[in-house]
Point group: C2
Chain length 228, copies 2
């Protein structure tokens, strides 16, 4: 009985999160605001990727960043210093963002002034995969030093995303990493997924990734305005 | 009311986990079996560290490894190939091990034949910190490419461990990592914690770490047998 009760509550949490995520998606669509949710292990390079993306696109797009962290506002400060508006969410120990946190963060924002919303999730390759945030694309940042077996070991995350940024490719000569094996795992779980090879240190590939983002923003802008 | 109910259930889960962890600790003490719980981000090098530790100590100690993963038995197979007995726990999506999973894994094991139990947790820098497994020491593996801000951003994990292995120090020349800033964060959260600088690639520091482990095993052996 106790177990049944726990499962019931878990289902309630997921379904009410999904409803909130739907409401956020509708709101973003009304403002023709393209949005991504960036997920990764701790230290894969989410914040660095966001910094470089802002650096390249700050004159072209108005960017809002929501940074999710357990503690500190280091990431939001980095996004702000790079030239975007930023909001920090501290989860106070929580291992992922949920749609309610994002909704609260957006409540005082004039969405009409932005073209692109980037949500940076808590560094975690497990829990964030279960919580939709209402963003248009879920993006995973993998990094070379994490190892080539990660798709096989964290299938839920690799399966559930729409785009994959493979970061720290400049470290390929210094670590054992079989790219074939890694890509075979991805192909198995998420065939045809959009992939970007980048290095936030050398800036290789950042331009291609940023161009893809700009194209997504433009496609969203060209759509007819949704009525809620 | 709903929120209160959820909090109550959360407390129940933690407290019943702690009771189970206590029972495991008692069982391990009865067998004078020293045990560690190794936690880290995905790809920090837990499995490689365990492999090298087994490689150095396999003639000296009888080692049992319990490997926690969301999917696959890659890690348990690596531990077995290195020369230890190993048991795989697949959490089926779960983001951490708990004491009940460890208890179940140990249920068919003749503990008297082992000197050292190594539990490898799910790769996650958040959730495993909240679940004691009954092991004698909680060990965190950090790695250089993860970045020097991790103690500040994941304080719960850094605060709650008894030992810290800093892995991939061979990558120091290739990534931006301020060791002073990293160590200052650790000193703030966990002053005087036992630290080991290692590289699983060059094997630097593995001997010192392994010697510390052997000393822990010997101290445990020299204690009088606990009566349950």
């Amino acid at each position: 009985m106790m177990i049944k009760k726990k499962i019931q509550i878990k289902e309630d949490i997921f379904s009410s999160n999904d409803q909130q995520a739907e409401a956020i998606r509708l709101l973003l669509d009304q403002h023709k605001l393209f949005s991504i949710n960036i997920m990764a292990s701790p230290g894969a390079g989410k914040t660095s990727l966001i910094e470089h993306t802002i650096g390249l696109l700050r004159n072209e797009l108005h960017i809002l960043v929501i940074d999710g962290d357990i503690a500190t506002s280091i990431d939001a400060e980095r996004a702000k210093a790079a030239g975007a508006a930023s909001i920090q969410i501290n989860t106070g120990g929580g291992c992922h963002l949920d749609a309610f946190m994002v909704d609260k963060a957006l409540s005082d924002v004039n969405l009409a002034q932005f073209d692109l919303l980037i949500v940076e999730n808590v560094g975690n390759l497990v829990c964030p995969a279960s919580f939709q945030l209402g963003t248009h694309k879920n993006i995973l940042v993998a990094s070379i030093p994490e190892g080539d077996d990660k798709p096989y070991k964290y299938p839920g995350m690799y399966q559930g995303v729409d785009g994959l940024v493979i970061n720290k490719i400049d470290l390929m000569p210094y670590v054992p990493f079989r790219m074939d094996y890694f890509l075979a795992g991805i192909e198995l779980l998420n065939p045809g997924i959009e992939k970007f090879m980048v290095s936030c240190s050398t800036r290789e590939g950042i331009k291609e990734w940023s161009e893809w983002l700009v194209n997504q923003v433009r496609s969203k802008r060209s759509l007819p305005r949704t009525t809620g």
